[in-house]
């Protein structure tokens, strides 16, 4: 492969943060002799992508294969991408500093809805044709996966294959097949057709996109172009998750990245069943790794990486049936070494006095809780399953244990929300502040801070709220304004997301294949790094929609009957449509559904459908 380093080296002094591009970090893996080369790309800058779990996991599983090498690639920052274009330097991988176009396969993870234009930016910078149909035999196979694969259509033309679900097993199957066929001299078309037969692999070019009326009648928006192709794509799971070692090699970056610490995945899946939450549907069922596995892995990981902080990650780490034991053992083993042990998100109902003492040792930064809605009625609608008492109990414990700052996350625009629910957010935050003050010694009360952070509800594919429309940006601003006027305490501050960005998210989340043209047009008009406030170009997205004559307000804001076939009906997270429909009905009736890892099964369909079971180490107690 071509070594671009000599050319890159000359440009690096002009880069804003050279450490993004220099590679050679502790823990980087080099397999120069491997004859099959895979590049795993994250469609944003190094400091966002290096921390990404998918990049780490998939590079590790591929590097573990004989004769296969995985390298990392990230999108250069906007200013450096411009420099590279001007100098004719193509997008490169880190380890070999080789052009992406020279790899056998390029995998791009799709972490959130605002990364779509960055996928095009990366392909373009790499000199790889944007459309799968324009790629020749010599171009890399371009595959995608990650959260956004659960509605793959807005990305359909750009990928040869989109992988649904957890990549540990399926990625290796796919690459091995590709390698064998490449060695046998198969054509690109033959390879794509063969991969399309692997469960969980969707090759969009082999399916026609149907008009709405036909899709509703047929029960699917896609139709195979020939016989013998699968028509339903069920997510893949990593079946060995619970028993696999929690420690896995990782790169220790030079420059500061997000989540710059040892991240250890202690469990996968969350079945609390929040009805807006895509992750809760995507990663079912719950699978816990054992305390012994976790403790040994954390200690080994700290020794091998040199980090001074470890985070026990998952969607809901305090739900682990052995979490108290794990924290106690780790606190004991790390005592006196200046090592912090943290948990990324705390559930209100499992954060008690014990947890407050076990987490974060002596350093008490901010604490974040997510009540999501301001009234019990609305929390029941979304099945959040936490009460005011849970919040106040958690606040009492946290502030008595030494915390002084607390951030509360809410969502605005949830289905059935009224002005009373908005005022409820203000009321809840103010009462939480009162409780916090009471739990703190009088002389420290001035330090107590409470902040409210509001996101706009984005309907997500594969959730019970997938049929519910988003409120308009104007209405969102009205509700934010109502909230701000309702908050009377100066110590409680309110933050909110830009509704125009959330609008793009909603369209990308719910749109069909027609949205791919919108993404491409917006990118051509300068949209990239849309998740960065300073780069988001609302105008580019609007003009692109006008130029294409798309009515995107419909896509984002329309509320459907649950009989409506959504554009991702051919993709399944294992959760049955019937169950999603029932959850949507229960939401409207303000009725909750229990978590099956604590209580009875609600028949979502994942376990029988995927042939798996909940794996808890001990009985969970709520």
């Amino acid at each position: 492969m071509t070594d671009l380093w000599p050319r890159l080296e000359r440009l690096i002094p002009r880069a804003e943060r050279p450490a993004r591009y220099i590679d050679h970090e502790w823990g980087a893996t080099y397999k120069l002799e491997a004859d099959y080369r895979y590049c795993m790309a994250y469609p944003d800058t190094y400091e966002l992508g290096q921390a990404n779990q998918a990049v780490r996991i998939l590079c590790n599983v591929v590097n573990a294969q004989e004769g296969m090498a995985a390298e990392r690639a990230f999108l250069p920052a906007a200013e450096f991408a411009d420099t590279m274009r001007a100098e004719g330097l193509p997008a490169f991988s880190l380890e070999s500093c080789a052009p992406l176009a020279e790899f056998d396969c390029l995998g791009i993870t799709l972490p959130h809805e605002l990364a779509a234009t960055n996928v095009l930016e990366l392909l373009d910078l790499a000199g790889i044709p944007l459309h799968a149909e324009d790629r020749a035999d010599g171009d890399p196979l371009v595959i995608g996966g990650g959260p956004c694969a659960f509605n793959p259509e807005p990305y359909a033309p750009f990928f040869d294959v989109i992988v649904i679900g957890e990549g540990e097993d399926v990625n290796v199957e796919l690459l091995q097949l590709h390698r064998r066929m490449r060695d046998a001299g198969a054509s690109r078309a033959e390879i794509v057709r063969a991969i399309a037969q692997i469960p969980g692999c969707y090759a969009p070019s082999l399916y026609r996109w149907l008009p709405e009326a036909e899709a509703q009648e047929r029960g699917s928006w896609i139709e195979p172009v020939e016989e013998g192709l699968p028509e339903r794509f069920e997510k893949r799971l990593f079946e060995g998750f619970a028993d696999s070692p929690t420690w896995e090699p990782c790169v220790v970056p030079f420059t500061e990245v997000v989540h710059d610490r040892l991240n250890v995945e202690i469990l996968r899946g969350c079945t609390r069943g929040c009805r807006f939450c895509q992750a809760g549907m995507m990663y079912r069922p719950v699978r816990e790794r054992s305390a012994d596995n976790i403790v040994a892995s954390v200690l080994r990981g700290l020794a091998e990486t040199g980090y001074d902080e470890v985070s026990l990650t998952s969607l809901s780490s305090t739900d682990h049936s052995q979490i108290a034991e794990i924290l106690r053992r780790l606190n004991e083993a790390c005592a006196g070494k200046g090592i912090r042990i943290s948990i990324p998100s705390q559930r209100l109902d499992s954060f008690g006095v014990e947890m407050a003492e076990l987490v974060a040792g002596q350093k008490k930064g901010g604490l974040t809780f997510a009540p999501e809605a301001g009234t019990q009625r609305l929390r029941d609608v979304i099945n959040k399953g936490v009460t005011e008492d849970d919040l106040f109990g958690a606040i009492d414990a946290a502030f008595a244990a030494g915390w002084r700052r607390c951030k509360l996350y809410f969502m605005i625009g949830l289905p059935t929300e009224t002005d009373e629910d908005i005022k409820g957010i203000a009321s809840l935050a103010q009462r939480a502040y009162d409780r916090a003050k009471k739990a703190v010694p009088p002389e420290q009360r001035g330090n107590v801070r409470m902040s409210v952070s509001c996101a706009l509800f984005v309907p997500k594919a594969q959730t019970p709220f997938q049929w519910d429309g988003q409120i308009t940006p104007e209405e969102a601003l009205r509700r934010v304004d109502l909230l701000r006027r309702s908050v009377k305490y100066r110590a409680v501050d309110v933050h909110w997301h830009d509704p125009e960005t959330s609008f793009v998210e909603a369209v990308m989340s719910r749109g069909g294949r027609e949205c791919a043209a919108w993404v491409e047009e917006a990118w051509r008009r300068g949209a990239r790094f849309d998740a960065w406030t300073e780069h988001f170009k609302e105008g580019a997205w609007r003009e692109a929609a006008d130029a294409l004559g798309l009515d995107l307000a419909q896509v984002a804001q329309r509320t459907y009957d649950t009989g409506y076939v959504m554009p991702w009906a051919h993709v399944s997270a294992g959760v049955s449509t019937r169950w999603l429909q029932r959850e949507r009905r229960l939401a409207q009736e303000e009725k909750t559904t229990p978590d099956c890892s604590f209580e009875r099964c609600s028949a979502c369909g994942v376990c029988p459908d995927l042939g798996v079971d909940i794996q808890c180490q001990e009985v969970r107690h709520g």
């Binding site: 002094p13 050279p18 450490a19 220099i22 050679h24 030079f254 040199g306 980090y307 001074d308 200046g338």
Partner: protein, 212 residues
Amino acid sequence: MANPDLFRLRVTFAKTGRCAMLSHLEIARALERAVRRAGLPYAISQGFSPHMKIAFGSALPVGVGGTEERFDVQLVRWVDPDEALTALKRASVEDLMPSACAYIGPKEPAASVAFPVADYEAVFSRPLDALALPETVTVVRKKKEKVLTVADYVVSAPAQEPLAAGEGARVVFTLRSLDTGSLRPDLVVQELLRANPGAEVQTITRTAQRAR
């Protein structure tokens, strides 16, 4: 003065190759992690936010390497310096490699102030025609302009050592830092580039640091 019950280990290392592109903060973080990976019995501070007792030598700008850089780490028990060096080498990346470990006394000045005089070497793409520096340079610090008198900082002025034909030229100079601040070596190089249009700089390296 450092705590006399602790052992101050002074580590000499090189910042070379690609790592010359790292910032001082990035280097500091990388070195701290190497100390932890090496398993040295480092001391931690007893504050609200406990952290490793480690102190770094004077900062190098992004893009400037160094062959004799130093940091001091305090240990809670004595470790044979050769063993410490072996462990650190095993725990370090190629371009931030330690070369020596030695204990220093509790009263010795910290690595950041012990070596105000430093030799630099810059390699240019071609021999330079003009080596004289201007009398003053203007720098921007915290949005304020400041005029530095070059002579205050220059211990020995840039001198050229030709390399083999076609390999450019090596220019060496020595700078001192004052209590009030210092003149960055990359600024000196910039001035040389300004005086020699068409020349390009390939590397800038701090080759030695000393007390006087």
